[in-house]
């Protein structure tokens, strides 16, 4: 990432339509989620259990992954290991070519967006068709997703009608939701029926049984995982859960946190291949792509508990104003601000840990209790700082380290009627006063009053 978060946020902050779309959508989801969570009496215990199950898997991840591999192989699946995006994309493209296909249908998958699979396949002459309605909208628009769960959250109905009329070749449409989804259905149905390869991500991969789990709302995902002869699933190594029974916890946490539903409409589970039913060939690609960097970090490790529900996006006051694109990653919002620096390396995303006021709303809703503010602060400690800022922060710390120095600095600050150290930061007063007046400094510090009155 060459630009910083504040630079990327600027456009969104000035786009009033975008801010209205975002505010409407996030407020609606936020309120629905709160109601869906309120009706579960043991919600807090479920969160604790979910966090513990993920931590258990992460504590012995290498063993769990080998267990998963063995179970998948026993059930007729083929397992591949990919260190990074290039390796994963190469494996998938080779498999698609070997299957003799030039078009694949895809289940909505953040992991494939993360590795840029569609572009990599296109470079090998393979067309990837997104089948999740919102992903399809984003794909047809040549756009990038801006929300984990609602990739087209930045678009309204009228914008989508215009896009469909322009790209689907089905004639004029109204902005009635039923008409719009009907048009998408006509377009997609033809592609489901002719596809020879389906590609999916996974919400969970069960080590104990080798079972893959995908949850979705539309049923289009299930078309991709059952109709084509070959199914390729790409899964980040952090998606492993120890036992099948653990899904009993996660399948309660995930839908209520993400779509505010008691249960998601479609939950697909499959284990290897079954003669006469579903795909004849199943490939599982296990992806690292920076995840082991988080695993190696004692504070940052909890980031890998994430089940991609997007509850943190919907409550984040920063995300609500900037939208997802400002985060420069397929993982936007608070979770993106901590996950992306691990995936791409902190040096390539140094502004993300600062893209938060540390208000804590994200940590309150996280279904697996990721302490996002704590990880943000931890990551801030690992970014390179501007030299002038470092100098003034060290000078301030030195002044605070001794009463005499502190009191001299305090008198100086009050005499100059400005905030100590602020003058040394690059242009901060200008940034402050663009929308705020500076406070009027008092004539006397508290301690001077205390010494006079009580000393």
């Amino acid at each position: 990432m060459t630009t910083s978060f504040p630079d990327r946020a600027r456009g969104a902050l000035r786009d009033r339509q975008l801010r209205r779309n975002l505010e409407h959508a996030t407020t609606t989801i936020r309120e629905k989620r709160a109601r869906a969570v309120e009706e579960v009496p043991d919600w807090e215990a479920l969160r604790t259990a979910g966090a513990a199950m993920k931590d258990e898997a992460l504590a012995s991840l290498a063993d769990r992954l080998e267990e998963l591999e063995a179970r998948v192989q026993e059930r007729g699946g083929v397992v591949h290991w990919a260190r990074d995006a290039a390796e994963a994309n190469g494996i998938v493209a080779d498999l698609v070519e070997a299957a003799g296909a030039s078009e694949v249908v895809k289940v909505k998958s953040l992991t494939t967006d993360e590795i840029g699979l569609n572009d990599a396949l296109a470079a090998r002459g393979i067309a990837a068709v997104e089948t999740d309605l919102a992903e399809l909208i984003v794909q047809l628009a040549g756009d990038e997703p801006s929300h984990i769960l609602v990739p087209a959250i930045h678009k309204n109905r009228d914008q989508i009608r215009e896009l469909f009329e322009r790209t689907l070749g089905l004639g004029p449409l109204t902005d009635d939701p039923a008409a719009l989804t009907g048009a998408a259905r006509t377009y997609l149905r033809e592609r489901f029926l002719r596809a020879r390869v389906g590609i999916s991500g996974a919400n969970f991969a069960v080590a104990e049984t080798g079972t893959i789990c995908v949850v979705e709302s539309e049923g289009n995902g299930r078309m991709c995982t059952t109709l084509p002869e070959t199914l390729i699933t790409i899964v980040g190594i952090e998606k492993v859960v120890p036992r099948l029974a653990d899904l009993g916890v996660f399948l309660q946490l995930l839908p209520r946190s993400s779509t505010a539903e008691r249960m998601n409409p479609y939950t697909s589970l499959w284990t290897g291949v079954h003669p006469g039913d579903g795909p004849r060939v199943f490939h599982l690609v296990l992806l690292d792509n920076g995840r082991t960097r988080a695993l190696a970090d004692a504070v940052g490790r909890q980031t890998l508990r994430c089940i991609r529900c997007s509850a943190c996006l919907n409550v984040c006051p920063v995300y609500a104003r900037t939208g997802g694109h400002a985060y420069g990653s397929v993982y936007p919002g608070p979770i993106g601000a901590i996950l992306t620096p691990f995936l791409v390396g902190i040096d390539r995303a140094p502004s993300l840990p600062y893209a938060s006021s540390l208000c804590g709303a994200c940590a309150d809703v996280c279904p697996v209790r990721i302490d996002i503010p704590r990880v943000l602060v931890h990551l801030r400690g690992r970014t390179a700082k501007p030299a002038a800022e470092g100098t003034s922060m060290r000078l301030l710390a030195r002044a605070f380290g001794d009463r005499g120095r502190f009191e001299r600095a305090q008198r100086l600050a009050l005499a100059g009627r400005r905030i100590p150290g602020a003058g040394a930061l690059p242009g901060p007063l200008r940034a402050w006063t663009r929308s705020r007046e500076l406070p009027v400094a008092p004539h006397e510090s508290f301690r001077d009053w205390w010494r006079r009155e009580r000393g």
Binding site: A355, S357, A397, A399, F400, R403, R436, E437, W450
Partner: protein, 225 residues
């Protein structure tokens, strides 16, 4: 009760009236207030800005300054939150409304403040310390006060320490919405438990020429108007 005041460097320097209010309030309730002059900064700003080494050394200094005091009170929810996490003195450090409601068991502090007031629960008080309705219970008992509910009260005002500078435009967008909420209440005073947030909100209120002024909760609880 002997109570040590941990005022926070920011209040000591820029908001002495808040410190005086805490002293007057606690003395009026019959307690003895001490102000250890060795106190400077707890290290919160350094910690939140990614200067772990400096933060840790200031946190150790806080421990040595307040180590001999059994009850410590602070009118800064964010500093209390940091001190609880980063020092061994956590259990004996109380945010002002915690001390009043939980430790001293008082809600009516004998204040009188005949103004229309709206209360903004700051993030560190609301989600950090889980102050709940303690501040509102104290405010409701103030004579003459007209307390009006702040719409979308739980949303961050956009201050966030260095966030207000590093992401000034996002911070300003958050502030603009908070100002709209405050102005919509018709209150003449916006109260909160953190002067840092209030400095940001107050700076915005003055910029847009709003009638409401920022005021620390302690100054309302100390008032005898």
């Amino acid at each position: 009760m002997r109570i040590a005041l941990f005022l926070a460097c920011f209040n000591d320097t820029f908001f002495p009236s808040t410190g005086r209010a805490v002293v007057e309030l606690l003395e009026r309730l019959g307690h003895e207030v001490e102000f250890p002059l060795e106190q400077t900064c707890c290290g919160q700003m350094h910690a939140n800005s990614g200067y772990e080494y400096e933060a840790a050394s200031l946190a150790r200094r806080f421990e040595s300054v307040f180590g001999d005091h059994h009850v410590v009170v602070s009118p800064s929810a964010s500093c209390v939150g940091f001190v609880r996490e980063a020092t061994a003195l956590g259990p004996r450090v109380f945010e002002l409304t915690e001390l009043l409601v939980d430790t001293l068991g008082v809600e009516d502090v004998g204040a009188s403040f005949p103004h229309r007031v709206t209360y903004h629960p700051t993030c560190h008080g609301l989600r950090g310390l889980r102050l709940g309705d303690r501040p509102l219970r104290l405010l409701r008992a103030v004579r003459g006060i007209e307390l009006v509910e702040l719409p979308r009260a739980e949303e961050c005002c956009g201050f966030g320490g260095t966030f207000a500078v590093k992401n000034a435009e996002v911070s300003s967008a958050m502030l603009a919405d908070k100002l709209d909420s405050i102005v919509s209440t018709g209150a003449s005073v916006c109260a909160a438990g953190d002067n840092s947030c209030l400095m940001h909100i107050g700076g915005g209120l003055r910029r847009v020429g709003a009638a409401a002024r920022p005021l620390h909760l302690a100054e309302i609880l100390a008032a005898r108007e």
